[in-house]
Assembly symmetry: C2
């Protein structure tokens, strides 16, 4: 491996000079610069990033921790982040937080110990106090999909309530009055917030979300099936379901068909997230598009600016909105 020092020797200049031309810094004599460049080319010199990191205390890597990278939502998140990282000249290192006990914390600490100052965290477990403490230590720690008031300028999140209001309002505009909700038992507050959203939207239309039209289960396909079964067995009438996410929505569709009901003819189903699967199922799912990839890219840029421009003050709000994408799972009753 050819080093900077060797280049310097061959070129008959000092290492400082070579370093300068490599990072095209400052004033280096034009001819001198040319010569060094030529030699670098000839001998195929490539800078050693590790050494650079050590010398200038940079890290050139940004970290991302999500519960489980193999889930579509999180892989989109990672993808957005990878793209932004690369554009900023950083490497993206990732960790799943799911498989270990103190998983999230361990992941973050491990990242920090690898000198990466910018970390994108999709936190599910840790409590706010812990996170606040960590944030002090790690200047580039940003939170995605979690709002912590004390750390507002580090939080990139979605207006869940507005989103589910939009969704509900849409259903109502299509003539639905008896709306059911299938939601999830989840670590964070998203499910509750979304249920609130439908309640508010219904209230605004002088409607009411009936307690036995709320079914709770796990946030996946099986959960969706279970929830719908519960709904069905309650004998309460409903013409539409707003689901916590696409997976539950798809489970719901399955359960509905299995019960001899047609979607959307007999009951409409509205999803959340707009994962790829929402175009794979039949009928294709009408759903709220979660701009997770954009959010991840945004969060990544924020994370690098947070460490590179520490003096700067950043605007306090990084709030995104979901938007409705109409496909085939909602019927027009009007």
């Amino acid at each position: 491996m050819v080093t900077l020092k060797e280049v310097a020797k061959i070129a008959g200049v000092s290492t400082a000079t070579v370093s300068r031309v490599v990072n095209d810094q400052a004033k280096v004599g034009k001819k001198c610069r040319e010569r060094v460049k030529k030699i670098i080319e000839e001998v195929g010199y490539r800078p050693n990033f590790i050494a650079k990191s050590l010398a200038d205390k940079s890290s050139n890597t940004i970290g991302i921790v999500t519960p489980n990278l193999s889930m579509s939502f999180f892989s989109s998140l990672a993808c957005g982040s990878e793209h932004a990282s690369r554009e900023n000249g950083y490497s993206l290192v990732m960790r799943n937080s799911l498989y270990e006990t103190r998983s999230e914390l361990d992941a973050i600490k491990s990242l920090r110990d690898h000198n990466c100052q910018s970390i994108i965290l999709h936190s599910e477990y840790s409590d706010e106090q812990m996170l606040i403490k960590l944030a002090k230590e790690i200047p580039g720690l940003v939170f995605i999909n979690r709002f912590i008031p004390e750390l507002a300028e580090r939080c990139v999140w979605l207006d869940n309530q507005a989103a589910s209001q939009t969704a509900t309002q849409y259903l109502i505009s299509k003539g639905h009055r008896d709306i059911a909700v299938i939601t999830s038992v989840y670590q964070n507050r998203d499910p509750a917030t979304r249920v609130q959203g439908v309640q508010v939207a219904m209230m605004q239309n002088s409607l009411k979300l009936k307690p036995n039209l709320i079914a709770e289960s796990t946030a996946n396909m099986e959960g969706g099936e279970q929830a719908v079964k519960a709904l069905l067995s309650s004998k309460e009438k409903f013409t539409a379901i707003v689901a916590y996410n696409d997976l539950m929505a798809i489970g719901a569709i399955h359960a509905l068909f299995d019960a001899g009901l047609n979607v959307p003819k007999d009951v409409s189903v509205l999803g959340f997230d707009d994962l790829d699967v929402s175009r794979a199922c039949r009928p294709k799912l009408t759903t709220m598009h979660y701009p997770i990839e954009e959010m991840a890219a945004y969060a990544t840029n924020l994370a690098v600016r947070l460490v590179n421009e520490p003096e700067k003050n950043f605007s306090n709000t990084h709030l995104f909105m979901a938007n409705l994408v109409e496909r085939d799972s909602v019927a027009d009753l009007s």
Copy 2:
């Protein structure tokens, strides 16, 4: 940030000693070790991995490059790799290869320049000669889903032909005689190999794959739809389709239903990969399970052993098999 040197000073020992207890190496006096440990604990010392890497030329990171992390198949791959990386004490850094021109190569080189010696590559574009050259330079470069004879000991791949033979044989055992294939125009040789697999299986049963029952398109849902439309317009009769992958299979199912045909009653559809979507569509997809997560973990372990035990000779074959998972998209005609 407290350094090893400071710990040494406080403990009244040399940095070498501290280094030894940190890496619990060699023989250090028991009391001495205890004392140092206590101090490390007290002052909250944490080793600097960058410095360590520079000093001992290790890298503690392994790289992975796939075309597009947001695709289910690749995110499973990444996930398997992340898990294995972590177990080996490495960080996983990833790169998409899709967005740039000389994308793959750039990604690998960038990884290499960041001193990561172990790289898992899902190569789509690069030619063999280039790869062989790279392999010489990077001891831990392993290829996933690509077989390069000269680099057999670095290739972790799937027996595509056997897999599609299995698939076809299954269809035949279910009474299907008129089998169609929808395949993909793709960078690598997989599609062709899989088509061969069905041809062989059919031949073994004195059947023949009719040329106009082979439709080619892109390897996604839209491609599947298109391919089926082509098949349908050929007027050639068929009772089953083997698809290049799950996405095409699902597209096929859509197109079939749109044409008024029922799956599996009128025509059966068999997928490949066993992605999550295969359980989201209706009917649920019978498909060949591609053990990509296991393969990725295996490849990752191989990659680290390749650099850590260079003297060792590794067995030449890292060949995996796909297995059939029966769901609801294939009818029994017999």
